[in-house]
């Protein structure tokens, strides 16, 4: 089971990462790739860029913990998470999750789960840069609700928010 977590300033190559998960093995039947992209509008106002701040050390640890959790919950054959930080312009990629499995449901569910957790638990913060200044994006309740879907009964009791 190949699992890779990377935080980086540089762009990533989603197709290459997907190819690496398949390479040299014939048990992969499904590959799901999620790419999160910087939109040109935020709250219906055009933006110039996003700047992603993160908590080095903790961000890697949080993502790795959730990657391990995904591997425990679904029969994955490969998993790659890449999260960029720094300044990102509209149209550029922010985050990549690739999951490989023998069957599609595991690949879909694990990618969906990881994205919900990245949105709500990984210590990253998005600052919006506009012509007239900067502001911080606010967390959405919808994202918390999405992450709640994955809580197992025991985890729900101990949940920290």
């Amino acid at each position: 089971m190949k699992s890779t977590v990377r935080l980086q300033r540089e762009p990533f190559d989603a197709a290459l990462e997907a190819a690496l998960l398949k390479r040299g093995r014939s048990d992969v039947g499904a590959v799901v790739t999620f790419t999160g992209v910087c939109r040109g509008n935020e709250a219906n106002e055009p933006i110039a860029a996003l700047t992603l701040e993160h908590y080095p050390g903790m961000a890697e640890a949080e993502i790795e913990r959730h990657a391990a959790e995904a591997m425990r919950r679904w029969p994955l054959l490969g998993l790659t998470v890449i999260h960029r930080f720094g300044r990102i312009e509209p149209g550029d990629d922010i985050v990549l999750v690739v999951t490989a499995s023998s069957h599609r449901q595991a690949a879909f569910a694990a990618a969906d789960f990881l994205m919900d957790y990245l949105k709500t638990r990984a210590p990253f913060w998005k600052q919006v840069e506009r012509k007239d200044g900067t502001s911080w994006i606010e967390a959405k309740q919808a994202d918390d609700a999405a992450a709640e879907r994955w809580q197992e009964p025991a985890a729900r009791r101990d949940a920290v928010e």
């Binding site: 999160g36 992603l52 701040e53 993160h54 908590y55 050390g57 903790m58 961000a59 640890a61 949080e62 999260h83 922010i94 985050v95 994205m115 990245l118 949105k119 709500t120 638990r121 990984a122 210590p123 990253f124 913060w125 998005k126 600052q127 911080w136 994006i137 606010e138 967390a139 994202d143 920290v160 928010e161």
Partner: protein
């Protein structure tokens, strides 16, 4: 006891620094207690910690709720709700 504090995003901007080392005052035993104490350190801290609902904390890089005991912590971080992904 000395502990490193780290601030991120608008908590960092309001406090005006990314990190500092403090000597933990007697009587401050929980993360929530530390926030109370920090809020009393001046205008910039009062502003940063004015709405606790929007402050998250981590001890040694693990998310913790405000009632968590500080004892033994090397690094405590304060930041807004996360907006990654």
């Amino acid at each position: 006891m000395s502990v490193k504090l780290r601030y991120f995003a608008w908590v960092r901007e309001r406090v005006g620094k990314a990190e500092e080392d403090i000597s933990l005052p007697a009587g401050v035993t929980t993360v929530g207690g530390l926030m109370d104490w920090l809020a009393g350190r001046g205008e910039e801290y009062a502003h940063a910690f004015e709405n606790r609902k929007f402050i998250r904390a981590a001890i040694d890089r693990t998310h913790v709720p405000p009632e968590t005991a500080i004892k033994g912590a090397a690094e405590i971080a304060f930041f807004p709700p996360m907006t990654g992904g």
